[in-house]
């Protein structure tokens, strides 16, 4: 029972209500989409769940754990991993080292073991190294394991962030715009990878994404925010046809002949989803 439950969550930044009275539950082992126009509060929700910010009202529970009193590092320990909208890799570290940092929590060897170079230390390093390489294989990054992480192309940096998050052996994975900057082919690959991760590691995935091709194609349930407030919730089909959602994205509630690009994105997402 490790579902993520938000109840009446509210967060104000000064006079600005970033998130207002948001309630939703992410079922275990689902792929859940959190969408909305820019400034809707999606990333703030992620920051609240991962402890970067603390909500002012309401509650966030992961399983039975209340995340509010926990520091971000502790929340990672509980099993919530995330990626960042503006990629946050450790730029001076190599690709492999980026992953190895994420396994400090799982180590049995502590500082003294590392200083004395005991057997536990070497065993730990070997196990972690093997796991990291395995994940790099999965994300097709094994060939660049010893490269500085910033030398990777953009799409690979995003995949590296997901791989790093997976090193934590999380139960819940929060992906903040994983498809940003990806082309059609890469986005298709990403969709497959997200499904594969969920199935293989029994994960719950929450996705903040603007790319409707990905959102509509992979999510089982979608929650839509606008100006910090819930405007719709349901299956991809229901959300796409929700007049409030269309209004939020298009800036009006009428159906003009000249559709702005966002509408095409929603529309093409629909076609995409029913395609395969």
């Amino acid at each position: 029972m490790t579902e993520l439950t938000l109840k009446h969550v509210t967060k104000d930044f000064g006079g600005l209500r970033a998130v207002g009275d948001v309630t939703f539950t992410v079922p275990e082992r689902s792929i859940f989409g959190l969408i909305g126009p820019n400034g809707a509060g999606k990333t703030t929700v992620f920051n609240l769940v991962t402890g970067v910010y603390k909500h002012d009202a309401g509650s966030i529970h992961f399983g039975k754990t209340d995340v509010r009193p926990l520091a971000p590092a502790k929340i990672a320990e509980v099993g919530i991993a995330r990626t960042f909208q503006n990629i946050r890799l450790f730029s001076q570290l190599t690709v492999l080292e980026n992953l190895l940092v994420a396994c400090e929590l799982q180590k049995r060897a502590h500082l003294t073991a590392a200083l004395l170079r005991t057997k536990v230390h070497y065993d730990d390093e070997r196990v972690m190294h093997a796991r990291a390489m395995e994940l790099l294989e999965v994300f097709d990054l094994a060939g660049v394991a010893d490269e500085p992480s910033t030398s990777l192309p953009y799409g690979n940096q995003r995949r590296l962030e997901i791989a790093r998050a997976m090193m934590l052996k999380p139960k819940l994975l929060l992906l903040d715009e994983p498809a940003a900057g990806m082309n059609y082919g890469e986005a298709e690959g990403l969709k497959a990878q997200i499904r594969w991760l969920r199935d293989t590691f029994a994960l719950t995935v929450v996705l903040v994404e603007h790319n409707m091709q990905v959102v509509m194609g992979v999510c089982e349930e979608i929650h839509v925010l606008d100006h910090g407030e819930t405007i719709a919730h349901g299956t991809p089909e229901a959300v796409q046809n929700d007049p409030k959602v269309l209004a939020a994205y298009l800036g009006g509630d009428d159906d003009e002949a000249d559709e702005p690009p966002a509408a095409q994105a929603v529309a093409s997402g629909a076609g995409e989803r029913s395609g395969p």
Binding site: G51, F84, L93, V101, N156, M182, G189, A192, W196
Partner: protein, 399 residues
């Protein structure tokens, strides 16, 4: 390493004969002590990237603690000349005490200031070092009453606080104030730490620092320096790691300070002015000169700065400078050191801002420096700027 320890043992007995000039011996031992100073400061300033500018405070705590412990232990063991055999009792006990005291104060100073973001650590450590120095330098029991008694008079809680402050002020006063501490009977601090201890500890602690850097711990510190939010998101607790590295740095400084106080070829007194801001600044220069984050770099910086300081002292005693001083008595010769230092640092910042070694190590295989975007075996997908005809490629994760 065992071989090195044997060598140092031999040196312990023979160095007097190999190098009859005690000032050169002192220089070598001081250089090794300064290596320890730089190694310990490097943990917090270099590896963890938190700027501490009060390292002298911890050196002072370690120095005074070792001086007090070793001289009392020396008396208890019967006095006389410090022997090599007896140093195996005195030095470990004194250094352990120094390490504990310095570490405890490191925790007290670090915990509140490292929780905050920004440069608070620099301010707090600077203040701390000056407080330690001034407290010892200016301590004197009042003619009529002590701090503790004054406390009791103004109606402060009697019982515990008054006597505690009284004992504390008596203890601090017994450290000799501005004149320095020279043992309980003013016979001088017994100088137990010979080449075996100083070179040996420099080697052992150097290896430990190296292992610290090349462990998961060092990796986590580097990650933390890069991006605190991302590090926290993968389970590296910033406060915990920073406070721990600060305590490690303080412990190292305590040991270095203790060794300096007991340095066989040093002076048998410990003086507050040894731990002024210039000493902290020297330590920072060592780390920056060698390359922040590099263990071997810090060691090289420690040696170089020691030699530079001595060279400047030698220049100051030359006849030209002396005659200059006679003609202009206002000339502060210590300022010469600062001028040369400043020159070196400015030159370093211009031509080699990362220090001599940067973050690299002396005996480390070079990481491929070129940011080659196309290593072998990469899939064709190159990011968002490639034409959309790139195939969905063989994502290994595809079910």
């Amino acid at each position: 390493m065992a071989g090195a320890l044997v060598l140092f043992t031999v040196l312990d007995f023979t160095l007097d004969r190999i190098l009859p000039d005690s000032s050169i011996r002192q220089l070598l031992l001081l250089a090794a002590c300064n290596v320890l100073v730089a190694l310990s400061l490097n943990v917090i300033n270099g590896m963890a990237g938190q700027f501490s500018i009060g390292h002298a405070g911890f050196l002072g705590l370690g120095g005074y603690t070792s001086a007090v412990v070793s001289s009392h232990l020396h008396e208890a063991l019967g006095g006389g000349d410090p022997t090599f055999a007896r140093s195996f009792i005195v030095v470990p006990v004194a250094l352990l005490a120094s390490a504990l005291i310095a570490g405890a104060f490191g925790y007290l100073v670090g915990l509140p200031s490292l929780r905050l973001k920004g440069d608070y650590l620099a301010i707090v450590t600077l203040g701390f070092a000056e407080i330690v120095r001034l407290l010892i330098a200016t301590a004197q029991l009042g003619e009529k009453q002590t701090v503790g008694e004054a406390f009791a008079q103004v109606g402060g809680p009697k019982g515990v606080v008054g006597p505690f402050f009284h004992a504390l002020s008596v203890a601090i006063t017994s450290l000799g104030g501005q004149n320095g501490y020279a043992g309980p009977k003013n016979m001088g601090v017994p100088l137990y730490a010979g080449p075996f201890w100083i070179f040996g500890l420099a080697l052992v602690l150097g290896i430990l620092a190296y292992r610290l850097k090349f462990s998961g711990w060092g990796r986590a510190l580097r990650a933390l320096r890069e991006d605190e939010i991302a590090a926290a998101a993968v389970g590296v607790d910033p406060t915990r790691y920073k406070v721990r590295s600060f305590v490690i740095a303080a412990v190292g400084a305590g040991i270095a300070g203790g060794l300096m106080a007991m340095n066989r070829d040093g002076t048998p007194t410990v003086q507050p002015d040894n731990y002024n801001f210039a000493a902290s600044f020297d330590a920072i220069t060592m780390v920056i000169l060698g390359g922040s984050g590099s263990v071997t770099g810090a060691a090289i910086g420690g040696v170089l700065i020691t030699f530079t300081i001595k060279a400047i002292e030698a220049i100051q005693s030359t006849s030209v400078i002396q005659s200059l001083k006679r003609s202009a008595s206002w000339l502060d010769l210590n300022a010469l050191r600062m001028i040369i230092y400043a020159g070196v640092l400015i030159a370093l910042m211009i031509w080699r801002p990362e220090g001599l070694l940067g973050e690299r190590e002396l005996f480390q295989k070079k990481r491929s420096p070129k940011p080659s975007p196309k290593p072998r075996g990469t899939p064709p997908s190159e990011g968002g700027d490639t034409p959309p005809d790139a195939p969905p490629d063989a994502q290994a994760g595809t079910p």
